[in-house]
Amino acid sequence: MFLNQFLLLSAILFTIGVYGVIVRKNGVLVLMSIELVLNAVNINLIVFSTYWGVAGQVFALFTIAIAAAEVGVGLAIVLLIYRNQRSVDIDELDEMKG
């Protein structure tokens, strides 16, 4: 197997995730897109850990844990907004600008 086949797969996932966060306006969907991006990173780490030892795996484990925490916090904020505004349409949040 080539190194690049994994790295390019991860780059594609990263890019798709980026597309998602720019285009999706439902808050939950944006969070899902973020998961794509973070998983892309993990693939990179694991790939490189085949060269340089377990540090990459440890890094990936930390990333998984932190990503989970981030999603939890993100959902809490989205829920908060939903409760106040009855909508999770983040495109409509533009009270502060300029």
């Binding site: 966060v21 720019i22 600008k97 300029g98």
Partner: protein, 781 residues
């Protein structure tokens, strides 16, 4: 010596005064004014004592010349403040240190001084006597005097070395480097000490009446004290970093004082404008100081910098860059052309503040800074032996420009403001052409008569219901306010350069310093353009001041209510200042006046001009009677023309007063003058000489003289008002404001990018990531 090492007490007194007034002022019977006066009085006495000691010190320290003496002159420099000076002082003979080019320069300088010294030496040399000096001076830097130091010895063996006394303490450490804070005492700083404390004292006294009953009376005095303290701190600066702090403090205080009556929006706007314009220059100062810091081998010390610059150990390019940066600072602080616009606006402050700002403190800071770091400019701009440079050009343009603009102002304070701009232009030109002493001398004399004029204007407005509009709200005050009138008249005459008032002597010295006029070969270069521009400026100065006198004191009273003479607390300072303005010139009578008793000529130069390695080898232009006569004539013709212009109009009494402020009215005045000339020629001349000669004379009078008067008047007024309306108000002010409004326009546009929508932010974020990464990946790989 005690006075020189403890001179820090003077600014400290004023700072203490500020704190005391701030904390206890309101509880005092006189609301804090008495604290200010007592402290500034004490500061003045101390400054006088320091000055007296300085004179005694200078007289009692006769030194020889040559490199050894130059080094010895630095013996009172604390080694911890200036390593270079300490080194120079330590080198016994100083010859190893001061070699080659420097040695030639130093000796050449002495030869130049010899020329001036010759005038009052007991050997009975006459003005034309010292051929040694005259021959050596023009080629001062290149003089092969190293081979003939005797020439210097002969001419100047009576010269005394005025030593700088530098003391400092450790301020802070920056890495392995110690930055000190301290005082530099030499003639220049002592002079400013006396001037600043004196003017400040008089302004304090004046203010007790002038701002009486003001609701921020206590604040006002607190800031007067702080302002004075800042200026004194700046003046005594031992290093450039300290200078920046003082410089900025002065700016901050002026902000507070200009905006003192902030209830009116224009006042607070003016304060902001003054401050912001000054910020532009501050940046120049900062960058310049940092450049010079590296140029001087990582040292902020003024001594180090000056000595190294003087000895040619700093590359010319670095000095040029540094001096150009500093010139930006001078342009803003000293109101030089393009950045001068804040100065007239700053008239919004209380008048005594204007007097303080214009006469002794803020605006002269720029001039003082150039004088302090003179070797940087002298070498960086190649002042010696040239005929044009940035400094002198800016000064000359400002001198002429400001004088023309003063012509068309209605507000008496704005006339004075533009007048200050113009006079600062004189000083800057003088520095630019190498006439260091003349510049400082003019600073000295100008302080008195300009302070007198401003306080006089304050007295007038005090009488006329706080209006400064001399065209509409004043007039005929000569009888009502005799003290104000006479002091104002004297100060005006001094400003116009009427012999023998102080302005005459200092202005003449500047004119001679340009080295353009035949017979002033002792100067550093030949600045022909500057001489012409300064003469024109001098002409305009005389004329617009006459105009002011006319509007304020002659004709009929046009304002409201009944004007009255001001009280003694206002008039006493006026009288003191007017007297000083009249007689201050005697401190620097030309060396050529050898009929005077010994030791009365060039005293100012003698005590104020620094001696030592930290000052460049400038030479002095001699007094030239022809030039003096011309300058007086120029001044008198300015007065005369304006006299015909305004006063004769009054005799005619035909025109409505309201019309006077219109340009059309000026043309009418010209017509009136024509009648006057008609009268002169028909009755006086024709009465004596009849026939063709008379007719010819009549024709001459009707066509040539009238035409000339007409033309001159029209041109002066027309160009003045055109320049005011189009250049000053539109172009210069517009550019200054335009830069601001375009910046805020761009800001408004950029603000639209902040849409508030997260996903546009996200798009921008990732687009920026892609672009930044893409560019660098492609470019660097």
């Amino acid at each position: 010596m005690w006075f020189f090492t403890h001179v820090w007490i003077i600014p400290a007194l004023m700072a203490l005064s500020f704190l005391l007034i701030l904390f206890f002022g309101k509880k005092m019977p006189k609301k804090g004014a008495e604290i200010g006066i007592v402290f500034v009085g004490a500061a003045f006495v101390l400054a006088l004592l320091t000055g007296g000691n300085w004179i005694a010190w200078s007289n009692n320290n006769p030194e020889g010349h040559g490199p050894a003496a130059e080094g010895a002159a630095l013996a009172n420099v604390d080694p911890s403040c200036s390593s270079v000076a300490a080194e120079a002082a330590a080198v016994g003979e100083g010859v190893e240190h001061v070699e080659g080019k420097t040695e030639g320069k130093t000796a050449g300088k002495k030869a130049g001084e010899g020329h001036n010294e010759g005038g009052h030496s007991t050997e009975g040399a006459t003005a034309a006597a010292p051929p040694i000096g005259e021959s050596a001076a023009p080629a001062a830097p290149a003089a092969p005097a190293a081979t003939e130091p005797a020439g210097a010895e002969k001419g100047g063996h009576e010269e005394v070395a005025t030593r700088p006394v530098v003391s400092c303490i450790n301020w802070f450490e920056n890495g392995d480097q110690t930055i000190s804070i301290g005082t530099l005492v030499d003639g220049q700083s002592v002079l400013l000490l006396i001037v600043v404390t004196l003017i400040s004292l008089l302004v304090h006294v004046f203010s007790t009446d002038y701002v009486h009953g003001d609701r921020r009376y206590t604040h006002y005095f607190a800031f007067l004290s702080l302002f004075t303290a800042s200026m004194l701190f700046f003046v005594l600066s031992e290093n450039t970093l300290q200078m920046i702090v003082g410089w900025e403090l002065v700016g901050v205080c002026s902000f507070a004082l200009i905006g003192h009556w902030w209830e009116e929006k224009p006042n607070s706007d003016a304060a902001l404008k003054a401050f912001l314009t000054n910020r532009v220059g501050d940046i120049g100062l900062l960058v310049g100081v940092i450049v010079l810091y590296f140029a001087a081998g990582k040292s902020f010390s003024i001594m180090d910098l000056n000595i190294l610059a003087n000895e040619g150990e700093i590359s010319h390019n670095l000095l040029l860059i540094g001096s150009l940066c500093l010139i930006t600072a001078v342009m803003s602080k000293s109101g030089q052309f393009i950045l001068h616009t804040w100065l007239p606006d700053a008239m919004a402050g209380p008048t005594p503040v204007s007097a303080l700002i214009h006469a002794a403190t803020m605006v002269v800071a720029g001039v003082y800074m150039v004088a302090r770091l003179y070797p940087v400019f002298f070498e960086g701009l190649s002042i010696s032996g040239s005929s044009v440079n940035a400094l002198s050009m800016i000064g000359a343009i400002t001198a002429l420009f400001g004088a023309m603009l003063a012509f068309v102002q209605k507000d008496i304070k704005k006339v004075l403001a533009y007048s200050t701009v113009s006079q600062l232009g004189f000083m800057v030109t003088a520095l630019g052409v190498g006439a260091w002493t003349a510049a400082l001398f003019h600073l000295f004399t100008h302080a008195f008569f300009k302070a007198c004029l401003f306080l006089g204007a304050g007295s007038l407005s005090h009488a006329c219901h706080h209006s400064f509009n001399m065209v509409d709200d004043m007039g005929g005050l000569r009888k009502i306010m005799p003290k104000t009138f006479w002091t104002y008249l004297v100060a005006t005459a001094a400003l116009a350069g009427v012999f023998p008032l102080s302005g005459f002597w200092s202005k003449d010295e500047i004119l001679a310093g340009t080295g353009s006029f035949p017979g002033t070969e002792g100067a550093n270069g030949e600045y022909h353009v500057m001489l012409v521009m300064l003469l024109l400026a001098a002409f305009c100065t005389a004329a617009y001041m006459t105009r002011t006198i006319w509007y304020a004191f002659y004709g009929e009273y046009r304002g409201h209510g009944t004007p009255h003479e001001s009280g003694p607390r206002i008039t006493t300072p006026l009288i003191i200042l007017a007297s000083l303005g009249a007689i201050a010139g005697i401190v620097n009578l030309p060396a050529a006046f050898d009929f005077l008793p010994e030791g009365t000529q060039t005293r100012f130069e003698h005590y104020v001009e620094p001696v030592g390695l930290y000052f460049p080898a400038i030479s002095h232009a001699g007094f030239n009677p022809a030039l003096a006569v011309i300058s007086v004539l120029v001044g008198l013709s300015g007065i005369g023309l304006a006299y015909l212009y305004f006063f004769k109009d009054a005799f005619a009494g035909l025109h409505g007063l309201a019309e006077r402020n219109k340009v059309a009215a000026f043309f009418k005045n010209i017509l009136v003058n024509k009648y006057y000339f008609d009268w002169l020629y028909t009755t006086v001349i024709v009465g004596f000489v009849k026939g063709p000669l008379a007719r010819a004379a009549n024709w001459f009078s009707a066509n040539v003289i009238d035409g000339t008067v007409n033309l001159v008047g029209k041109t002066a007024v027309g160009s003045g008002s055109w320049v005011y309306k189009n250049v000053d108000q539109k172009v210069v002010d517009g550019a200054v404001n335009g830069a601001g409004s375009s910046a805020s326009g761009v800001g408004a546009m950029l603000r639209l990018t902040q849409t508030g929508r997260i996903q546009q932010y996200a798009a921008l974020f990732f687009a920026a990531v892609a672009i930044l990464a893409g560019v660098f990946v492609v470019v660097i790989g």
